[in-house]
């Protein structure tokens, strides 16, 4: 598994690769940021940050203007959520945590009583296409007790 390290002349560096310490004089010394474990952690953190950033960046574009104006009021509202595929148990559970599921409408899932924070949380999920304000329905939706 160990791979030899090269110095600037293409020679093999002596010393323990894992330790990040090279005792040969005159060669480039391995610094702490050359260490495999540090680089691994940095890579993982960068991945997580990138993933989160992607969610934050694309999130607002998925919320329609109608819903955005409704969100400013800060009240609970009914929303329609379009995903890229029919919702499964996993997605239902997420919807259930944010509001009350009340059936499908125009190929979207209708979630009732969602707070603006919930809409923002939902918009950051990459598998969601569009979130819109639901038209008031004639079927009385079940209000979840607070």
């Amino acid at each position: 598994m160990r791979r030899a390290q090269l110095d600037t002349d293409g020679n093999e560096l002596e010393g323990e690769y894992e330790s990040g310490i090279v005792e040969v004089e005159g060669f480039k010394r391995r610094r702490w940021y050359h260490r495999r474990d540090f680089r691994f952690v940095a890579f993982v953190v960068a991945c997580i940050v990138a993933f989160q950033f992607y969610g934050f960046a694309t999130g607002p574009g998925k919320v329609t203007d109608k819903l955005k104006t409704a969100m400013i009021a800060g009240n609970k509202m009914d929303v329609l959520v379009w995903a890229k595929f029919p919702a499964e148990a996993f997605h239902m559970e997420i919807y259930q945590e944010l509001g009350a599921l009340s059936g499908e409408q125009d190929g979207a899932v209708r979630v009732g009583g969602v707070m603006p924070g919930g809409v923002e949380f939902l918009s950051r999920k990459y598998w969601i296409d569009k979130i819109d304000l639901a038209p008031p329905s004639d079927i009385p939706t079940v209000q979840r007790p607070n």
Binding site: M1, R3, A4, L6, D9, G10, E16, E18, S19, G20, I21, R35, R36, D37, R39, F40, V41, F51, K84, F85, E88, F90, H91, K125, Y126, W127
Partner: protein
């Protein structure tokens, strides 16, 4: 003409370019193990596909590698895989961080005094050998099927191995080192800082890796048994709902995650610590 150019190329070494270095590294890679690994993986995949083609009902017993890849793409698109994966890793990180943060000082404190160390050594050994999975039913009765149950099991599995290892490490430090430090007028705190802690350092490193390994197993088992979302839960429900492709996908992910974690994080730290502090032992 021919000869002259040869001589000049000998007397004036060619400038080594980045491309040369890249090729050199590439050749090394081929020479050592990457090629073998690729051949091995290909052979295994071909054998696996042949077996899964030849058995009846492969979707249930052994889905082909293609089916596993497709199911992973499907779960990626639907957002299940990243969610499960991050849930499991978060549990592992939180559980083992708390376990290590509590276990290392605990082991050191017990090791401060020889009598206390002798006193608690058998008890720590006892708890270390009762596996976390065995106490799982008790924890379920206490906390029900909640995140707390999984966390307690992980804490238990990571705390006792590390505490036991640190305690053993402190006990194995030759008493003459402590005596020498005390003769030279070191205080109790200085003895701990300059003798006991560095002396136990290799054991702390080995114990940490061991207990994180145990914690990883405990996370998987805990998710299976307590029914919390994560990789363990994924393979468990995959078996329930007859989607064996998901089970195999989960197993491969569990294996790869541990290999990567071990190779890129735990092993370098352990090797480095032992190299740096290991001499104190002799």
């Amino acid at each position: 003409m021919q000869k002259k150019s040869n001589v000049s190329s000998l007397t004036q070494p060619r400038q080594i370019t980045a491309f040369d270095r890249f090729m050199w590294q590439f050749n090394q890679l081929l020479k050592i193990d990457a090629m073998n690994l690729v051949i091995l993986v290909v052979v295994i995949l071909i054998g696996w596909s042949i077996i899964s083609e030849s058995i009846p009902n492969p979707a249930r017993y052994l889905p082909s590698p293609m089916a596993v890849v497709l199911s992973s793409v499907d779960m990626m698109v639907k957002g299940l895989l990243p969610s499960y994966f991050s849930d499991t890793l978060t549990r592992l990180v939180i559980g083992s961080a708390i376990g290590l943060a509590a276990g290392i000082p605990f082991g050191l404190l017990l090791g401060l005094n020889r009598t206390v160390a002798d006193m608690f050594h058998p008890m720590m050994n006892f708890f270390q050998s009762v596996s976390g999975i065995a106490i799982f039913p008790i924890v379920v009765i206490w906390y029900g099927n909640s995140d707390m149950t999984v966390l307690v099991v992980i804490l238990y599995t990571s705390f006792f191995p590390i505490a036991f290892n640190v305690l053993s490490g402190v006990r194995e430090i030759p008493i003459r080192y402590v005596n020498a430090a005390r003769t030279l007028g070191a205080s109790r705190y200085q003895v701990m800082k300059d003798v006991l802690f560095p002396g136990a350092m290799p054991h702390i490193a080995t114990g940490s890796r061991l207990s994180i390994g145990f914690a990883w197993r405990a996370v998987i088992a805990g998710e299976m048994l307590a029914g919390r979302q994560g990789l363990g839960w994924m393979i468990f429900t995959g078996q329930d709902t007859d989607s064996t492709a998901e089970v195999i996908l989960g197993m491969v992910m569990i294996g790869l995650t541990w290999i990567i974690l071990d190779h890129y994080l735990l092993r370098p730290i352990e090797a480095d610590t032992i190299e740096r502090w290991g001499l104190v032992q002799r």
